[in-house]
Symmetry: C2
């Protein structure tokens, strides 16, 4: 078996475990079980448990941004934001943003994880600002920020309610956008 596949498999398996158990709710044996990996290989690839967490968080962000970029509805740059979220949540389950979960679990003890997540969220907020500019023909940072908050709010709230939060966030975002 080749090297890059193994690395990818470990990350994919760990991602599924972290979704359900959180980052600190399970040991390395449990993290490695879904990919059938020995601990020796883990430390060869990632150096430490924390190194794997870092890689999973990075991959999670990359794959979400990729889906955002490849989503076929270019004519509705803001509405499609929430359509992507809905598809994402139905696929992964609604357990709160994994990036923010990593941030809150590790911010007190692992500054590099915290700063990675801050940078990822800056990237995401910038992407929303770009889409607002596309929709309005000019930048509007105030509206972009509000739409970001609706997005993060829907992601968080979906983990604790059955209400249709994503569609509600989408409608509110479009209202704010047409209301300036």
């Amino acid at each position: 078996m080749c090297c890059m596949d193994k690395r990818t498999n470990i990350i994919a398996g760990a991602e599924r475990i972290f979704e359900n158990q959180g980052f600190r709710g399970i040991g390395v044996d449990g993290i490695l079980a879904p990919s059938g990996t020995s601990t020796r290989t883990l430390y060869k690839h990632f150096g430490s448990r924390e190194g794997l967490v870092l890689a999973v968080v990075a991959e999670r962000h990359r794959s979400f941004m990729e889906r955002l970029r490849d989503w076929p509805e270019a004519h509705d740059p803001i509405g499609s934001l929430f359509d992507v979220l809905e598809s994402w949540l139905s696929e992964h389950g609604a357990r709160g943003c994994m990036l923010l979960r990593a941030h809150s679990e590790y911010a007190g003890s692992h500054p590099d994880i915290a700063s990675l997540v801050r940078q990822q969220k800056r990237e995401f907020a910038d992407e929303i600002a770009r889409r607002v500019e596309t929709a309005l023909g000019q930048p509007n940072n105030e509206i972009a920020l509000s739409i970001w908050l609706l997005f993060e709010g829907a992601t968080a709230a979906a983990s604790v309610t059955d209400k249709p939060v994503v569609q509600s966030a989408k409608r509110a975002a479009l209202t704010l956008l047409s209301d300036r």
Copy 2:
């Protein structure tokens, strides 16, 4: 020393620890250190580590709802929501909603913590709906839900950015409210 004070002190000390380290990032000795409590007393009062977490989460919600109720600006029921949030965050630090953090760390393994948080969030969303009805003279669940999402989004986002998210959420909420 009397019984209720000790219980309260343990909870208050644990709350400060959980804010900084997360729920699973520290052992019981560390949790008890700020209140100078022996482990024996912990298990007498709460039965288990998880029992303490449950009590801290319950107290956290109670004390936030109390501040909301006692806030002096009855004339602006929606705007004051975000003023309370700003005062709360400046006092406790912005590390994401502790209730949601508990939910995501324990949902996979401790259903009773998860269901407590779901109920607390239902209570909070209902309080917002009541305030929307007060402001509008009639109920509007769609607007109430959006405002809840702005609130949760601001709470989450404040932990990873320096942008003035709470004030932005407040303005967006008031816009949605006056826009129906």
